[in-house]
Each structure stands twice: as C-alpha cells, then as structure tokens.
C-alpha cells in the first residue's frame, strides 16, 4: 500500500538533511511500528508524507497504491486515503469541531466523486463514533482542540480518523501524554478500524501502546534512516534495553 524508496529530505529554509534515505513498505492489512530516539526524523517522515510545507525532497519516492504522493496537494493525499494523527494536534479557535469534521468528510467524498453526507446522516455517524471514544457532545461543539486536554486532543484525532475512514493511517506519538485509560480508548479506536484493506504506521516511544495495538513489523529509526527492522520482539528489546544496544549494533 505505502511504498517509500530512498527518501531523502532536507529543510527548505536551511541546509539541513533530516531524512537520509528511508525505505519502507507497508502492505494492506498490516500494522507497522516505528520507534526511535527523539530527533531521528519520525515526525518529519510523517509530515512529508502528509504534504506539509517547509521540506524539500531531494531524492526518492513515496507512493500510495502506486500513486505518487509527493506530487499531490495535502488535501489530495487525504482524499487518496492517507491520514496523519498529529503528534501535536492544532488548535483552531472559531472553527467548531463538528463543522470542521463535516467539511472534511464531505470534501473528501466530493473529491472521490461520492455523494455528500446529509446533516442528519453525519450527525448519526459522529455520535456513534464519538461515544466509543468517550467524546461528549459538548466537546464536539467546541472549537477544534481549543481548551482540550492532551488526552482529549489525541482522542479527537482518532475520532477524525474513524470518520474519514482512510486506508493508510499514520499515528505520530498518539500515545504520548496519555494515561492508561485514555491509551486503551485510543487503542480500541484503532483496533476497531483494523481491516484487510487498511494499514497502520504507528510511531511511538513505548512498548505500552504496542501491547494494545499489536504490530506485525517494527522498525527502528535513527539519524534519518531505518536502521533495523524486525518483529514485535524488537519493541520489547527497546523497552528493556533502550536504543543504545541496537544503535551500537548497526553502527
């Protein structure tokens, strides 16, 4: 589903190489995890895939079901089925959470040539999904992420993901800052979406989340590259010994 080949990325504004040749293949129906020390380029990878400005791809490719992601506008990537749950969800004062989600859902439907959801259909859908994530109607009415706690913001990301039903879901440290209960809610939200036609790329520091969202493949990222790939046991190794051993081994 997602194919990344030798992806090299530098900052647009300064001469700083951040991704130094990333190779990654994520198949439909699988869950991949990326772990790695702070500053290794995990968020940069997710931003570049989602189409954030400020980065320059100097080499390599990234495709979603064969379509060149790097050529598309961010909204086209979303309509093509890519979703990024932000490490730091953005607050948007003045834009109601509900209005935002409805605009997003219908914009994607329109882009795909599908019928837009009526207000009634949308409401029914969002109520059901929000309930699963313990998001109350008051939170839905509030401006996007404004005054939300850290946990509420992350649950709101998962709600968006559930409503948009993307096929490639990237979760950037969705577990950080969550207590155990909130993390379980998030994991349940993700697991409910697991499907043969859908893939997940879960960026995390902790084994904790991976206890709930079982990955098929675990990658270790360091210095702008994927330095090691293995099964779920690799996450345990990180949990028990930190990154030092692995980094020393591949150095």
């Amino acid at each position: 589903m997602l194919e990344i080949r030798n992806l090299k990325v530098k900052l647009e504004e300064e001469d700083k190489q951040i991704l130094k040749g990333v190779d990654l293949t994520v198949d439909a129906g699988t869950v991949h995890a990326i772990m790695g020390p702070n500053g290794s380029g995990k968020s940069t990878l997710s931003y570049v895939l989602a189409g954030r400005e400020g980065y320059e791809v100097t080499e390599g490719t990234a495709t979603l079901d064969g379509a060149d992601l790097l050529e598309m506008e961010p909204e086209e990537r979303a309509a093509a089925g890519l979703f990024l749950a932000f490490q730091y969800p953005v607050e948007i004062p003045g834009v109601g959470n509900m209005t935002f989600l409805r605009t997003a859902v219908n914009a994607q439907r329109k882009a795909r040539g599908e019928e837009e959801l009526s207000a009634g259909e949308f409401l029914k859908e969002i109520r059901a999904r929000a309930k699963q994530l313990k998001i109350d109607s008051e939170m839905l009415k509030r401006p996007v992420n404004v005054g939300f706690s850290g946990g509420e913001k992350k649950r709101n990301e998962i709600l968006q993901m559930a409503m948009l039903e993307p096929k490639m879901c990237i979760l950037d440290e969705t577990d950080s800052g969550l207590d155990v209960d909130a993390m379980k809610l998030v994991a349940e939200g993700v697991n409910a979406l697991r499907d043969e036609g859908r893939a997940f790329l879960v960026i995390t520091h902790y084994q904790r989340l991976l206890d709930h969202i079982r990955p098929d493949v675990v990658h270790i990222m360091a210095g702008g590259r994927i330095v090691k790939t293995g099964g779920p046991e690799l996450a345990l190794e990180v949990e028990n010994h930190g990154y030092a051993d692995i980094l020393a081994e591949v150095a």
């Binding site: 506008e73 948007i92 605009t103």
Partner: protein, 428 residues
C-alpha cells in the same frame, strides 16, 4: 484659532454647490446652528490628526465622483427577514416602494414632513447629539449633514416593536449625492431593531442619532455593499440612559471609500454599548471605522469589536477611543481591532486609545494584524479540506467574535451567508 485659508475655501466651495433647505418649522434653527458649527471647524483635511489615515478629499468635493450602478444578481440582505421596509432611492424616500409606516409600539415619520412643523419632539434630538459629538474631536461631515439633510426617517419607539424597521437604500443614478438624517428615540423600556442596507448613492452622507431612554434597547444591523465605487461617510451618535442597551453591527464589503464613525455617550448607570464591524475588501477598498465611546456614569459596559479581511492592496483603518470620565467607576471597557491580511500588499492602520480619569475601572484593548495561520491551514488540508475552503473556514473563524455581536440568529445567519458568498467570489 482662525481657520486655515485652504479649509475655508474648501468649505465654502462645498456650501456653494449645496442647495441648503429653505426654512420653515423647527428644523430651520437646527440647520443654521449646524452650518455655524461647520463653518467654525471647516471640512476635514488630510492634515487633521483625525483624518491621518483616510483622505477626505472625495467626501468634501463640491460634486461626487460618479459611481457605476452595480447589480449584485442576488436578493438583497435581510430579504428573508419579516420587517417593515422603508425605501430610499438615491437618498429620497420612496413611498411607493416602502411599506405602510404604521406598526404597534412605534411611530415612524418622514423627516421632510416633521421638519416643516412648528412643534415636534424631533426638535430635541435633531442635531443635538451630533452637536455634543463635535467635541473633543470635530466631525464636520456630520454637521454638514445636519445643515443639509432634508430627508430621513424619524422614529419614536414606545413599546416593543414587533418587527425590525429596515431601511433600504437603492442607487439609481451614477452621480447621486445623498444626504440622509435619521432620528430614533427609544422611550423608557421600549425596544427596536433597525436594519440598513444598500449602496444608497454615488456618494452618501448619513447621520443617525439615537437616544435611548432608561431601560430601552436599540439593536442595529447594517450591511454595506456590494457596489464597488461607493463613497460613504456615516455617523451614528447615541446617548444611553440608565440600564439601556445599544448594539450595533456593520458588515461592509467593497466600496472605494467608507468612513463609519460611531460616537456613544453612556450617561446613565449600568448602560451597555456594543459596536462591532466586519469589513471585507479586495483591491480598491478603503474602510475606516472610527469609534469614540464616553463613559460618564457608573457600572457601564462598552465593547468594540472590529475585524477586517483585506486583500490585493485593500486598506483598513481603525481609530477607537474609550474615554472614562471622572466618577465613571466600575467601567468595563473592551476594545479589539484586528486585520487579517491575505497578502503583503494590503494594509491595516490602527490607533487604539484609552483615556481614563476614574480609578476603579477595567479597560482592555488590543490590536493585531496578521496573515492566515499556516499551521491551521495545513491541519485542515491534511483532513481533505481544499485550500480555498480551508481559508474560508479560517476567515469566518477570524470574524466570529464580531458576528457573535448580532443577537438575532436569523439576521446573523443572513450576514454569515453574505460573508461566505463574498469569500467564494474573492479567492485569488
């Protein structure tokens, strides 16, 4: 201080070109006094501190610059609102197009008719608040209006007006120079909503004097636009009694030059005054909101909320003052003026001022100008919202605080729909 020669010349040239109303009735004296006020200060000039950001030349000139007629090809604002319509064509009342002026709880007359009488309550209001508003800063275009206006509407509200009164200004002549003067007297505990919309004329000079007695409420929503070549100078003068409420909102889209002055005196304790504006301009657009609020009683609240969205070289101006007089304790004053600049060519000029002579008050003010928040923009787009729609959402969000000042939901929705349609037409 003697008036500068240039000012005197400009003022006399304008007066020479005017046909001042011939007199009978109570209005004659008021007009003469206004003329004297105008001659004393002279018409505004670019060198006046109060006109630093807005060039009054075309507002002063003996003849207006012609303005092309504009067909918006859509129903006018407030079309869906159940209201009493009062229509003016190029500044002249049109009885045929207007509704019957009778309504429970409210007396509506035409200025032209009341002015010819010997005795009328309007005598105690016409030019009175305008004259009070001439200090500390002169407002010569308002004095000119009082001296020259022959038409307008005179309203006395005695109960709760069941429907809004809607003033509709049609523009039919490319060279029309309209002068209208309206009076509203809201009696104790009475309440009304006044709506205004329409291009009015090539050049429009309008004064609205509003006197709200104790416990009265006056709501005002105005939509200026969508014609592009209009030049307008408007003044609202309001005086508020105890526990009275005054709320005014203006949406302005397009127009070569608009100067909206609002002058409010809070003279009774616990009075509330809110003035808000949302202005959207693209290219040849100069919009000036000038507000002066005087707190002269205790425990009054005032709010000024002005937002501007500017693109392609449009210019926005805000001059807002809160004056808290000695003894006006427990004043709660708030003022915010903000511009969203959609490109580097547009400009926002702001002069917020506080002058406070009481010690137990809360007054806050802020002024900002900035671009679209790119982080928010990316977040919206990453969810599939196309760039244009995302920008519209962020613009509407930016304007929300001003639009929230409109109390009536149906009217607020109408304004919001106008905004959205304007944004959709002005994308690149």
């Amino acid at each position: 201080m003697a008036l500068a020669q240039a000012k005197r010349t400009a003022t006399e040239a304008r007066l020479a070109a005017l046909e001042l109303p011939a007199g009978a009735g109570w209005a004659t004296r008021a007009r003469e006094e206004a003329l004297a006020r105008l001659r004393e200060t002279g018409l505004p000039a670019r060198r006046d501190e109060y006109w630093r950001y807005t060039d009054p030349a075309t507002l002063n000139a003996p003849a207006p610059e012609p303005a092309a007629l504009f067909d918006p090809r859509e129903p006018m604002p407030f079309s869906e609102v159940d209201r009493l319509k009062v229509v003016f064509v190029d500044g002249v009342f049109d009885p045929e197009a207007s509704d019957d002026l009778s309504m429970a709880g409210i007396e509506i007359e035409r200025l032209a008719e009341t002015a010819a009488r010997d005795i009328h309550w309007a005598k105690d209001l016409y030019g009175v608040l305008e004259a009070r508003g001439q200090s500390p800063v002169p407002r010569p275009l308002a004095a000119l209006n009082t001296a020259a206006a022959t038409d307008g509407i005179v309203i006395r509200v005695t109960g709760k007006a069941p429907r809004p009164v809607s003033l509709i200004y049609l523009h039919r002549s490319e060279t029309s120079d309209a002068v209208l003067h309206h009076l509203v007297r809201v009696e104790e505990g009475a309440e009304m909503t006044l709506l205004e919309n329409g291009p009015a004329a090539a050049r429009f000079n309008k004064v609205l004097e509003v006197d709200v007695a104790d416990g009265g409420a006056f709501h005002h929503v105005r939509a200026q636009g969508r014609d592009h070549e209009r030049r307008a100078a408007t003044h609202i003068f309001a005086r508020l009694g105890e526990k009275s409420i005054f709320k005014s909102f203006t949406l302005t889209v397009n127009g070569k030059l608009t100067r909206n002055e609002t002058v409010i005196e809070l003279t009774g304790d616990n009075a509330v005054a809110h003035v808000a504006g949302a202005a959207l301009g693209d290219a040849d657009f100069h919009h000036d909101d000038t507000v002066f609020i005087t707190h002269d009683a205790v425990e009054c609240e005032s709010r000024q909320v002005f937002k501007k969205v500017l693109r392609n070289g449009a210019v926005g101006v805000f001059q807002g003052k809160i004056l808290v007089k000695p003894g006006a304790q427990k004043t709660d004053g708030y003022q915010i003026s903000q511009a969203l600049l959609l490109d580097d060519d547009s400009q926002f000029l702001a002069k917020p001022e506080l002058e406070i002579y009481a010690d137990d008050v809360i007054c806050s003010h802020g002024s900002t100008s900035g671009a679209i928040d790119e982080t928010a923009m990316f977040y919206l787009r990453s969810r599939g919202v196309p760039r244009d729609e995302a920008q519209d959402l962020l613009v509407i969000a930016f304007l929300a605080e001003a639009i929230d000042e409109i109390e009536d939901e149906a009217i607020a929705d109408d304004i919001l729909a106008r905004l959205q349609a304007w944004l959709a037409r002005h994308r690149h």
